[in-house]
């Protein structure tokens, strides 16, 4: 499975992440870490009047899996409602990452950005 993980697509996101940085005037601002390996993401997001996510940015440090997941997720989350994000799980992240099947050891890395955004939406009262 690991050979899958280090495909061009993920490495591209790792080396040239999308939406890297901090969104000004964000409605959601959250940091989450994975203490076992030291991965950390800081996610910021904005929502429109109807409550849909209009923009997401991230910064952080971590392995290819967590950083590529964060980068892809900043694109994927746009247009979703907080409820739709809350309903997402591992399968969605695996699909987002090109259909890879994550091993137990990498699940926490891959889902860190999703879990961070869920937490941020909750903390911001959007969930």
């Amino acid at each position: 499975m690991s050979s899958d993980l280090y495909r061009e697509q993920l490495l591209d996101h790792y080396h040239n992440p999308e939406n890297f940085g901090v969104l000004p005037d964000a409605d959601v601002d959250v940091e989450m870490d994975n203490p076992t390996c030291g991965d950390v993401v800081h996610m910021t997001a904005r929502l429109d009047a109807e409550g849909r996510i209009t923009a997401v940015m991230f910064e952080g440090q971590g392995c290819v899996v967590s950083m590529a997941s964060a980068s892809m997720f900043t694109e994927m989350a746009v247009g979703k409602t907080p409820e739709e994000v809350a309903a997402m799980g591992l399968a969605d992240i695996e699909a987002m990452m090109g259909g890879v099947r994550l091993s137990m050891g990498r699940v926490k890395c891959a889902t860190l950005p999703l879990n961070a955004l869920k937490l941020g939406l909750k903390e911001a009262g959007k969930l």
Partner: protein
């Protein structure tokens, strides 16, 4: 090489298998070692030939099982040069052994205002039990620092012992991250002179070098069986007088002498600390493991790993952007932790796996130590008797490939 690795490897059936079509390069023995045929066979033999619950069985099977089980204890006592096999307690793992001391000895002897001294290089198993004991009893927890090059800063110990408040010093015989072999005999002498007891965590040391409880001088010493070619269990050694005076830890069958409705009396050592049915075949397997290691010789194993280390350290140093933790040759065992500027430890491990190379990535159950070095995690390769220079070559080549893939 001091050892005939080819021949040794043939004793470990797992090396017959391929990983992703590649040769298995197992460099994670510090987490848990592979098992030789002799150990697997010893356990299978108990299960197929002599299995029964031990103690008080009055039939042949039970006597055979008890003799094998107690015979393994004698072997283990000899392995660590314990004066009396009754001082060797079978435990679930090294962690449980250390917790046993914290619960049974600690709660009675550590009081508010006392101090427990540990080191910055401890594994969580020899850290969290003391941290929690200190919190619970209102005692102080103090750390002997680690120097930048990963040695124990021994000069910091005497001041921590000077006021007589220190009741316990807990120290690893070998760091599972830095590979450091701290001067534990000196630690014990200093601690004892100040009236403190000494707990040594030999989980990492015992598989790789001779460990002699009478020479090292601890009051308690914990060992992991699964790291020294045995199954998933461990042993705790303690001084007889101390163990005798301690209350039991777990209560139940076998550890009692008499049970009345409202009070009980305890059995003799080692049974007082062994409640309920033990892992019988596994204890016999552990006995077979120390027979196996003893036949090769712990000195020879140590020498072999030193040779591998001497070969590996300079070759690893050539990997671009590598930072190797821990002291130089001569003060360390065969564990090499490092980080790469170009790659997260997770990615290093996952990419090496593609080449059939097994290393560990993470904090290796030593978060405060990683914090002290300002890193959240590291990659760790560890050597054992079945590793050779080819394995080192594979690791080095693999790391160059990691840098190529992930560097930019």
């Amino acid at each position: 090489m001091a050892l005939d690795v080819e021949a040794i490897r043939r004793e470990f059936p797992i090396f017959e298998r391929k990983i992703h079509g590649k040769r298995l390069v197992f460099l994670d023995s510090a987490a848990s070692s592979q098992k030789p045929r002799a150990v697997i066979a010893a356990m299978t033999r108990v299960y197929t030939h002599s299995y029964a619950n031990v103690h008080r069985g009055l039939y042949a099977l039970a006597e055979e099982a008890t003799e094998a089980y107690e015979g393994a204890r004698v072997k283990l006592a000899r392995f660590i040069n314990a004066p009396d096999p009754a001082e060797v307690i079978y435990v679930r793992n090294a962690t449980e052994g250390l917790n046993l001391v914290a619960y049974s000895w600690g709660i009675e002897h550590i009081h508010a205002g006392d101090r427990i001294v540990i080191t910055e290089m401890e594994h969580h198993a020899n850290l969290v039990p003391w941290q929690q004991l200190a919190l619970r009893q209102g005692a102080e927890l103090a750390y002997v620092p680690v120097t930048n090059d990963g040695r124990l800063d021994l000069a910091a110990l005497p001041p921590l012992l000077a006021d007589g408040r220190t009741k316990l010093v807990a120290c690893s015989v070998m760091s599972n991250v830095l590979g450091t072999l701290p001067p534990v005999t000196q630690v014990a002498e200093l601690a004892h002179a100040a009236g403190a007891l000494v707990v040594m965590d030999a989980a990492q040391a015992a598989p790789h070098q001779p460990v002699d409880v009478q020479a090292l001088g601890p009051d308690f010493l914990a060992i992991s069986g699964h790291k020294l070619c045995g199954p998933g269990m461990g042993i705790l050694w303690g001084r007889g007088e101390l163990l005798d005076a301690m209350p039991p830890f777990l209560y139940g069958g076998d550890m009692i002498r008499t049970v009345k409705r409202y009070q009980s009396k305890w059995n003799d050592l080692p049974h007082k600390f062994e409640a309920g049915t033990p892992p019988i075949a596994e204890a016999v397997g552990l006995g077979a493991a120390v027979d196996f290691l003893g036949a090769i010789g712990m000195e020879a194993i140590h020498a072999h790993e030193q040779e591998l280390l001497a070969y590996a350290l300079p070759r690893l140093a050539e990997v671009p952007g590598i930072h190797i933790l821990g002291p130089g040759l001569g003060e360390r065992g065969g564990v090499v932790s490092f980080w790469l500027e170009a790659a997260h430890p997770h990615d290093i491990a996952a990419l090496l796996d593609e080449d059939g190379i097994c290393i560990r990535a993470g904090h290796h159950c030593a978060q405060p130590l990683h914090e002290r070095f300002g890193i959240p995690a590291s990659a760790r390769a560890s050597f054992y008797l079945y590793n050779d220079k080819e394995d080192v070559d594979a690791l080095v080549a693999g790391l160059h490939r990691v840098v190529k893939i992930l560097g930019r």
